[in-house]
């Protein structure tokens, strides 16, 4: 009997359902609901109506979530058993991610640039087979990408809000899995796209494993997965477990943010993915990943800052130098933009190590400004095409200004923005970040300035190609986009210029929103 009693299940731990502040979670819930509706629409709406239905559902869902963010903009609370922090920081990033994902959806939904759309009609066909070749000219549009985008966005909304490492891991997976798929959906250059998807998936899975391992070690150290409790939980224990766990955790986050030395996937994935998806990844994923990183560093490990600061300094320097130097050798515009994003990630880290409220708000400003410029530049990239699809090799861009002065001028504005020339958002964001970091990380600022000077070279090389070189005889053509891409590029470019000339309102907003709770 006694043995039986020992085998009996232990008394169940009484689980009380945590109270949920539904209104504070409404942006996340709306996007998730829209994603589910999208899946249903995929099953029930007749094929010829699906595209319109999905566009309406996706943009409507994202728009409604944005409205919800605007309504609850003053909220500051921790909900769901302290797992989610809905504070100024979260809401600012959620709003930014929603706006940028709407612009990305506009790019994804573009149908007049390529036959059908930039997305392959049937991704599972063997690349290079006859069926695959016929897909290129197929008018069929594949619409599963819209619910996938919505699922990814919902993960991105949770990621910077999560105040609990387990939830953060779940969000990481929710945002990553759809992206792995989306990376493999390019209509042209199928093999490259599939390679990108596989590479992204394998390396991403590694990164997730690192994150999870770090999480486990931290749990072992502190007995909690709540960000706020990890460092203070067990002061008497050896710190080795804490540092190991922190290191592994951060590797996972640095990977998602595309920061050197965990950047090697970036150029290949950016190049192989359908360009609208690249735009989405380069802007929204980066914002979400930096949001989570900031929360881990500021909320979770603030007390241990003297231990992790040199590490973040190191990766910031590595990222800036790798992005700027390796970018010089690239000849493909998409890869150049990928290396540029690695360098920019380094600049953003410079703001993050300031460890002040100014630093946090400067990072928020930078993420928003960079996101808009990036989406517009990738959007513009989709318009320059030859018979094989997008003409992304640098040599194909020569003399572009002769063909379309307007497209070349817009691209120049965006590139000057990425280079950080005054009167563009790129300059303002660099300025706020460097100003915030100057006191605590002066040498880092100088390295950042020197790498921006180096990086300017490859942006200028594109400008030189477009304006000062002779157009080749069989150069690419410039596709006339529908209103969707036009709107996305126009908004991105306008924000790039406006934030360079009158940044004050957004600076105020970021300064006001730069509060972390948890």
């Amino acid at each position: 009997m006694s043995t039986l009693a020992a085998l009996a299940p232990p008394a169940l731990i009484k689980v009380t359902a945590p109270s949920l502040a539904y209104y504070a979670l409404s942006p996340i819930l709306i996007v998730l609901a829209a994603a589910l509706v999208g899946v249903l629409a995929e099953a029930f709406v007749p094929r010829e109506n699906r595209y319109v239905a999905q566009m309406v559902i996706t943009l409507g869902g994202l728009g409604a979530a944005l409205v919800a963010v605007a309504i609850i903009h003053d909220t500051s609370l921790v909900t769901a058993a302290d797992a989610l922090s809905i504070d100024g920081f979260t809401l600012f990033l959620q709003g930014t991610i929603l706006v940028l994902s709407m612009l990305s959806v506009l790019l994804i939904g573009e149908r007049s640039v390529d036959t059908g759309s930039a997305v392959v009609a049937s991704a599972a066909v063997v690349a290079g087979s006859r069926a695959d070749r016929s897909l290129i000219t197929s008018e069929r549009v594949q619409t599963e990408i819209f619910p996938l985008t919505l699922f990814a966005v919902s993960g991105m909304l949770i990621f910077p809000a999560s105040n609990n490492l387990l939830l953060m891991f779940v969000a990481l997976e929710v945002l990553s899995l759809p992206l792995y798929l989306m990376a493999g959906l390019a209509r042209r250059r199928r093999l490259l796209s599939q390679e990108a998807a596989l590479k992204y998936f394998l390396l991403g899975a590694f990164a997730s494993a690192f994150f999870l391992y770090g999480l486990a070690l931290l749990y072992g150290y502190s007995g909690t997965v709540d960000l706020g409790g990890i460092v203070t939980a067990a002061p008497e224990r050896s710190d080795v477990l804490l540092y190991l766990g922190f290191g592994l955790l951060v590797v996972g986050l640095l990977f998602k943010a595309g920061i050197a030395p965990f950047h090697s996937w970036t150029p290949d994935v950016y190049q192989g993915s359908p360009t609208p998806v690249t735009a989405f990844m380069a802007s929204c994923t980066k914002i979400a990943a930096f949001g989570a990183l900031a929360r881990v560093l500021y909320v979770g490990f603030y007390a241990a800052q003297w231990n992790w600061r040199p590490v973040i300094w190191g990766v910031a320097i590595a990222s800036m130098v790798v992005g700027a130097v390796f970018g010089l050798t690239q000849t493909d515009v998409k890869r150049i933009l990928a290396y540029s994003s690695i360098a920019h990630a380094g600049f953003i880290l410079v703001g993050l190590v300031a460890l002040t409220r100014d630093g946090l708000s400067s990072v928020m400003f930078y993420l928003l400004a960079y996101g808009f410029t990036t989406i517009a530049s990738f959007g513009l990239l989709t318009l320059i095409r030859d018979a094989d699809g997008e003409a992304t090799h640098l040599s194909q861009w020569s003399g572009l200004a002769r063909k379309s002065p307007f497209v070349a001028t817009v691209m120049t504005i965006l590139l000057l923005g990425l280079a950080g020339i005054p009167l563009t958002s790129g300059f303002t964001s660099k300025f706020v970040v460097f100003r915030a970091a100057y006191d605590t990380a002066g040498p880092l600022v100088v390295i950042a300035l020197i790498s921006s000077a180096v990086a300017a070279f490859f942006y200028l090389r594109i400008v030189v190609m477009m304006f000062f070189a002779e157009p080749p005889s069989n150069g690419p053509t410039i596709a006339v986009p529908s209103a969707l891409t036009t709107v996305a590029i126009t908004i991105g470019t306008a924000v790039t210029v406006v934030l360079g000339v009158v940044p004050q309102p957004l600076l105020d907003l970021a300064a006001k929103a730069a509060t972390l709770r948890g």
């Binding site: 020339i421 300025f431 006191d439 921006s452 000062f468 002779e470």
Partner: protein, 516 residues
């Protein structure tokens, strides 16, 4: 403080530039007319402002300040002292001259080989020149360090396109080199601008708040170096000069005039306006090195100029030598040297502008930049030869030309403090005579070679472009008072910021301890 006088001065060329941009490609003639009208209107406006400037009044006049980015404490603040005003006058005078000189040549010839002549948009060129003028005025008129930095960097963009779109055969390389050098300097300056804001107790970007607010310590020296290197690249001072010969040679003539005549002055202006008053102790600390660099620049560039076969490169090198003199005048910390340096900036703009324009006229006719492709030209084109000679003589600082006064003042101001350096620098005058007269002799004198036989002499438009510059050089050479009156108070204010008074002349020292 909402005086809109300077804002208006910026808006005139801006409106002109936008109007020219908005024109269709086919209306090139109208574009030129609008550009000329806008640049002349700007010049007249600037002259009226100069007339209203009170030489004995406040240091900064026509001050207007508007909040721009509140959370950085940045103001859109404009105001001019005498130094800034004369440079604005010089810049606004050069722009119409450039517009006139480029009237027909910009879409056909850039001084390169005939094969490298793509169709060029005249409208684009004139719009860019006017846009550049906007930034040129703003950079001298800014009294907020942040605004100055923004304009300092933004003015690279139109010049980059002027060189890259309208330049000679190696324009891509030259434009890129120009941009990257300047951007690199600019980013170092940005580090210092941020550092200035963070370390100064005023936490402000306003020039008036920052003057004298920095303690004398290592950080002042670092901040000084950030500004100094940016300006030294821009000026350019000798180890930082290698971009100028390429940019000067490949830029279209109009672009080269503005590049060397005005843009490079931003560097020397920056020394006077920002390096000296903001970092007085660091300026004094580094001055000996800078003076030595300046003298090396005078001699080294002069020798290089003598060896050039490309006329535009030659003129570019003469400018490097002249910037050595300006650096000497500024870092000698005397009123004479400072006044001389500012006069030098203006005169150099006029004389090198004139020399570049004349060289450009020659290149339009001969389709070659090489000295060896010309000979005996003045016998075929006497007016061109005469103007060439006058421009050349002003460049070598012949007495009677305004350049003589400034060079003399600079050497005098340097001599009172650093005799050895002044003596070595004086040999630069002889070298200047050599490179200018050799150039003149090889291209203009001697037997007339076949190539130049069919050359047309200067027409009315070309004379109108270069004539006023030459006339002004001679006028200011005889009567520099209006200019020096305007400059002197501002230079004195700068020197008192840096805490230096002129060394007493020897005759003021009491003989025998004052006893007979």
């Amino acid at each position: 403080m909402h005086n809109v006088a300077l804002l208006g001065l910026i808006l005139v060329p801006l409106v002109g530039s936008l109007a020219v941009f908005a024109l269709p490609e086919a209306r090139a003639e109208l574009a030129k007319q609008i550009a000329l009208a806008a640049s002349l209107a700007t010049f007249v406006y600037a002259v009226v402002l100069a007339g209203a400037f009170d030489n004995g009044g406040r240091r900064f006049q026509f001050e207007g300040s508007w909040v721009w980015i509140k959370s950085f404490g940045v103001h859109f603040a404009l105001g001019v002292d005498g130094i800034a005003l004369v440079l604005i006058l010089m810049a606004t005078l050069l722009v119409p001259a450039v517009v006139l000189a480029s009237w027909n040549s910009i879409d056909t010839v850039s001084g390169g080989e005939a094969r490298d002549q793509p169709v060029r948009s005249a409208r684009m060129f004139f719009a860019l020149v006017l846009l550049l003028e906007v930034f040129m005025i703003a950079v001298f008129a800014a009294t907020d360090v942040f605004l100055f930095y923004v304009v300092f960097e933004a003015m690279l963009v139109p010049m980059y396109f002027i060189i890259g779109l309208f330049g000679g055969p190696r324009r891509q390389y030259a434009a890129m080199k120009f941009f990257l050098y300047s951007l690199f300097g600019g980013l170092l300056m940005l580090a210092s601008v941020i550092g200035l804001y963070v370390t100064s107790p005023a936490h402000s970007f306003a020039f008036s708040d920052l003057v004298g607010s920095l303690p004398d310590n290592a950080s002042q020296k670092w901040l000084f170096l950030g500004f100094f290197i940016a300006f030294a690249i821009k000026a350019p001072l000798v180890p930082f000069h290698t971009w100028l010969p390429d940019a000067g040679a490949e830029a279209p003539i109009g672009g080269a005039v503005l590049l060397v005549g005005v843009l490079d002055k931003v560097g020397t202006f920056g020394f006077l306006r920002y390096c000296l008053p903001l970092f007085p102790d660091a300026s004094r600390y580094f001055a000996p090195w800078i003076l030595v660099l300046s003298v090396i620049g005078v001699l080294y560039a002069a020798f290089l100029a003598m060896g050039q076969r490309d006329m535009k490169r030659l003129v570019a090198y003469t400018s490097v030598a002249h910037f050595g003199f300006i650096g000497l005048g500024i870092f000698a910390f005397t009123n004479q040297g400072g006044t001389g340096a500012v006069l030098y900036m203006v005169n150099h703009g006029l004389s090198t502008g004139a020399l570049f324009l004349v060289v450009g006229f020659l290149i339009v006719r001969g389709k070659s930049r090489l000295v060896g492709d010309y000979g005996g030209t003045s016998k075929v084109t006497p007016r061109l030869g005469g103007v060439f000679l006058l421009a050349g003589l002003s460049s070598l600082a012949l007495p009677g030309m305004s350049t003589f006064i400034s060079e003399f003042l600079v050497l005098l101001g340097t001599f009172t403090r650093h005799k050895g350096l002044a003596i070595v620098a004086t040999t630069g005058i002889i070298l200047a005579a050599l490179y200018v007269l050799l150039l003149y002799q090889r291209t203009m004198q001697g037997t007339v070679i076949d190539r130049v036989r069919g050359f047309a002499d200067l027409d009315a438009r070309e004379l109108l472009a270069v004539g006023p510059l030459i006339a002004l050089i001679i006028f200011l050479g005889v009567y520099p008072k209006p200019l020096s009156d305007m400059i002197t108070p501002a230079v004195q204010a700068t020197m008192s910021d840096v805490g230096k008074t002129d060394p007493a002349p020897p005759y003021a020292q009491p003989v025998n301890g004052g006893r007979k």
